[in-house]
Structures are given as C-alpha cells and as structure tokens.
C-alpha cells in the first residue's frame, strides 16, 4: 500500500505548521509523563523517594532496584524476583495468541467466503460476546475448568484467554477478508483447492497486515491480564502480572517503591517492545481492514 508515501493534497502555512508541531509535541509529553515518573523513580535509592522528591531526577543513580526486581525481590516465600514468572507468562501467552489468531482467521474466512444461513447472526453473537464483563465469568469458568481437569494449568489459562479473545480476532479478520476478492476463492475452487488449501495457500499469505493487528491486540490483552491469571493459574504457572501485583501490593509490609517501579517496567517490557517494533505495521493493518468496520 503506497498510502504512506503518497502526497497529501493538503497544504498548510508556516504558522499553522508551527502550531501543529507544538500540539503534537505537547501531547507527546503528556503521553510520556507516567513513564517518566516510573523511570526516574526506578533508578533512585528508596530514601530519596520517601524523602519527598518523587518527581525529581535522581540525585544518586542506581541500577540496584532493577536487579532486585528481576532476580532477588521477595515475590512469595522465595526471593526469586520476577524472572521465573516472566517465563510462565511467555508459556501461556504464546499459544493463546497463536491459537486465538488462527481461529479468528478461520472464522473470518468462513464468515466471509463460505456464507451460510444465519452467519451474520452468529457473527453478531460473537461480537456481542466481546462485551461480557470478565468479573461475571470467574466462578462458572472455574467450575468448567475443574470439570475439564484444566484447573490450575497453563493450558486452562490459555483456554480462557482464547475464549474471550476470539470475538476480537474474528472481527478483525472478518473485516479484512470481507474486501478480499471472492473471485480468487472461486478460481482456487475450480483449480481444485479444498477449504484448507485455499486458506493456507491463498488467504493466509495475504493476511500479514491484519495478523499483526490481531497479534498485537491479543498479546497486549493477555499479557496484561491480571484477573484470570490470578484466579486460574496454578502455583507454578502464575503469570508476570500476578507476580508484579504480589511485589507491589503488600498490605502490611514496607513498600520499596523504586523496586516496584523497576518491576513494573520490566513487566511491561514485552508489550512495549511489541508496540514500538510493530507499531508501524499496526497502523497499516488497521488501514487494511479493521477500520472499514
């Protein structure tokens, strides 16, 4: 898509341009603010924070809180730091993202290219499911996981995320495939390609942009989830957010704010990276389908 390079037809004067830059930079500062607070306080000794200057730059720079948050902070009874929980999160997020994206892609493919009676109603029901508040599903979900023998396992947790993410991935892929030429599917049918061959050989190679959107969306949501992670993970599969919460939310202990902030940034690192690295493809992916809503 050549849109990014095409000339915009709009011309603006010098004063307007200055104003535009000013507004854009002001907003950038606004967006950076919380990250600034977290960053400066994560490299200060604790007494500098409790002593007052929480917004100031550090007088004494230290990397100690980062090391502590990663490898030695007390998360439960063991001073393990966040490191082991990081891998728990990865083990849960990766399959959940992949499966929900693949299922979303298949659903989108069926709902646009293999239309059948009531398919819009089914899609409507899937879309409406995106709006279900997660708090109400906790107890029945626990029961179902128990019945399926998945309680307290990484797969159980991944299943929960797949179930509640599939509405979104289906939405993205459906809107994308809706503008994908149906003639291509027909041509492939005449060529003798079956359902999965068409999907695999024809549709999927062209789905890059929307797959990026779907993966970013799912990755961020699942990585950042706390409620399901806390409720359905087992002792050895608790994700990063639960560990971070355990680090930060001590009700009756001493609060090490600098370690907390360092831990918070560490916990957010993968999602931050995903946004920064894949951000440009994200806008492109949105362009390619989802905003056609």
């Amino acid at each position: 898509m050549s849109a990014a390079t095409q000339d915009t037809a709009i011309r603006t004067g010098r004063v307007t341009r200055t104003l535009i830059y000013l507004v854009l930079i002001l907003f950038a500062l606004f967006y950076m603010l919380p990250l600034y607070v977290m960053l400066v306080n994560s490299v200060k000794p604790l007494d500098e924070i409790t002593g007052g200057g929480m917004m100031n730059l550090p007088q004494e720079f230290t990397i100690e809180p980062w090391l502590k948050a990663w490898s030695t902070a007390q998360i439960g009874v063991d001073p393990t730091g966040l490191a082991p929980y990081f891998w728990n999160s990865i083990k849960m997020v990766v399959p959940a993202v992949i499966i929900s994206t693949v299922l979303g892609a298949l659903n989108g493919y069926v709902l646009t290219k293999w239309r059948f009676k009531y398919d819009t109603i089914i899609f409507g029901l899937m879309l409406f499911a995106c709006f279900i508040p997660f708090q109400i599903v906790l107890i029945p979900m626990a029961r179902m996981l128990g019945l399926m023998g998945l309680a307290g396992t990484t797969w159980g947790l991944a299943l929960v995320h797949i179930v509640y993410g599939i509405g979104f991935t289906t939405l993205y892929f459906r809107n994308y495939y809706a503008v994908f030429p149906t003639e291509l599917i027909r041509a492939a049918q005449i060529d003798g390609a079956g359902f999965f061959q068409i999907f695999w050989r024809i549709l999927l190679p062209s789905s890059g942009p929307i797959a990026v959107v779907s993966v970013i969306w799912q990755f961020t949501n699942i990585w950042n989830d706390f409620l399901f992670g806390a409720s359905f993970a087992g002792a050895d599969s608790q994700p990063m957010t639960v560990a971070l919460n355990n680090l930060v939310q001590s009700s009756t202990g001493v609060k090490e704010y600098n370690v907390h902030f360092a831990g918070a940034i560490l916990a957010a690192m993968p999602t931050l990276l995903v946004y920064i690295v894949a951000g440009r493809y994200f806008v492109r992916g949105l362009m390619a389908g989802s905003v056609k809503g």
Binding site: A3, M38, T120, Q135, V248, L272
Partner: protein, 297 residues
C-alpha cells in the same frame, strides 16, 4: 428436486467443513459466554452469598440493589465516565491523526509515543498516575514550587472531581490507539477527491469538515465500539488509582459488581448488578450490530 444424492463425498465434505471449522468457536461461545450469562442471570434470583447457591428469592436482590445509594453513584459515574471518555478520546484521536497526517517530520518517532500507553496495564502505571495527580507530590506541588503558588489541582482528592481524573488517565491510555484508527482511515481516503475539492475552492477547514471527516464514518464506528467496550470494562484503572474513593465517589458498575460478588460475599446482589449491566450493554449494542450487519449483507 436437487439431486444431492449425486454429490460425491469430497463435495459434501467441503460443504460441511466451514461449519465444522466454526463449530468450536460456536460451542465455546455457547457455553463460556451465553451459558455463563444465563447462569449469572439465574444467580441474581437466588440467595447466593459466598458461593453459588440455589435458593430462589425472586426479585429481592434487585430491590436491595436499588436501595443502595452506592449503586446509583456507580451508575451516574458510568454515565459521566463513558460519555466524557468516548467524546474526549475521539476528539483527541481525530485531532492528532489529522495533525500527524500533514507530512510531519518525525512521525515515526511520535507515533509509538502516542501508542505505547495501550501496551501498559494499570497495575503498571497506576501508582505513577496516583503520584502525579496527588497535590502533595505531583503536578500541584511542582507548579507551586515553580512559582505558581495559587495553582491548585487536587481533583483526585475531591469527591466531586475525582471521576474526572479517572477519565484523564483512561484517555491517556486509549486516545493514541484511537489516533491510529483515524490515521488509518485518513490514509485510506482517495487523494483525487481532495484535489477535486481544493479545485472547487474549499478551505482546509471546509475540506476536513465537509469532505474528509464524513468519509471517516467507518473509523468512527470502530472507535465507538472499541471505546464503549473499554469503558464498560474499566476496572483496574479505578482499583489502581482511587480504589473507588474518595469515599465511594469513583465507584463504577464493574467495581461495584466485583466487590459485591467477591469481597462482600453478596453474590446475589453482584449477579443482579451484572444482569443490569448486561442489559444496558445489549440495549446499546444490539441496534448498532443490527444496523451494521444488515447493511453489509
């Protein structure tokens, strides 16, 4: 008299595969979404407290719910929050997208800055926001130390204004995402139309107001769906920033429901509030879905 009996096995299989592929999703939706909703609605008519129990009490939970001033506060807050949040996010998102679309140098640098808040959960940023908004250590303190002695920004501590600080933080998180959606929409508009309009003598203002923004309708709709879904699910934000306080001034239906179901051991009332929330969502979403999906057919 279609002679389907003639159809060979592969063809018949091909006819079934799409439905087979869809069926796991349909089954999951049926059980994990709609089954659970029905279960929750059922619970709202029972005497459930700590765990689900099945003693039928009729509408008692609903009548108790409406006697709680606390519930009305959370509904009012939801109204204020959702309206402002959706409005401001859309306005900021659109403005930034239009500005960023003026062949801005450094777009590649600014865009991730606008987008990154979406990547962070409020477990991560909650404390930072709390500090920044705290008059004793945050913005008010800084401004006063810079010489504006009369500068005052204590909304988070003020019962009547605290909900607006929640709006502020929520806008911070998602307006960049909305910007991306609008930017994508803008980039998808045919430039020839813009050139034509300019030849017709339209000013930049008119160009946007009359030509471009009306063409962004799909982006507006997508933004509305995403934003309203986020507004309804807003939960961590409140817990992390105010814990529902000062007093109960920033309680939202989601936090209300959670606290009655899980910390107050009044699952019946929690389920009743959940039912009302779901009905509200349905009242907004069903007409929208209906018009959208029918149009596409």
């Amino acid at each position: 008299m279609a002679r389907t009996a003639d159809a060979d096995f592969k063809t018949r299989l091909q006819n079934w595969i799409p439905k087979l592929v869809l069926s796991p999703t349909i089954a999951m939706m049926a059980v994990f979404v709609y089954g659970f909703i029905l279960f929750s609605v059922y619970l709202s008519f029972t005497d459930s407290r700590l765990l689900p129990s099945f003693g039928w009490v009729g509408f008692e939970n609903y009548s108790k719910l409406w006697r709680l001033s606390h519930w009305e506060v959370s509904l009012t807050n939801m109204g204020i929050f959702a309206a402002l949040y959706i409005l401001i996010c859309t306005a900021i998102g659109l403005t930034l997208a239009i500005f960023l679309d003026q062949k801005i140098r450094g777009e590649g640098f600014l865009r991730p800055i606008y987008l990154y808040p979406m990547a962070l959960s409020f477990i991560v940023t909650g404390t930072a926001w709390k500090w920044f908004l705290d008059p004793g250590i945050g913005l008010e303190n800084i401004m006063q130390s810079w010489g504006w002695v009369n500068f005052s920004f204590d909304w988070i501590k003020n019962r009547d204004y605290a909900i607006y600080t929640i709006v502020l933080a929520a806008v911070w998180q998602t307006s960049g995402f909305v910007m991306a959606m609008f930017l994508a929409g803008l980039r998808g508009i045919d430039n020839e139309i813009l050139k034509a309009a300019q030849m017709d003598g339209a000013s930049n203002w008119n160009l946007y107001r009359r030509i471009i923004i009306p063409q962004l309708r799909p982006a507006f709709l997508s933004a509305f769906v995403i934003l309203s879904h986020l507004a309804i699910k807003t939960f961590d934000l409140v817990i992390a920033m105010t814990g529902g306080g000062p007093g109960r001034a920033t309680e939202l239906p989601a936090t209300f429901m959670y606290s009655y179901t899980f910390t107050r051991n009044q699952m019946g009332i929690g389920a009743a509030s959940a039912t009302i929330m779901l009905m509200t969502i349905a009242a907004i979403m069903i007409p929208y879905l209906y018009s959208e999906l029918r149009e596409k057919k």
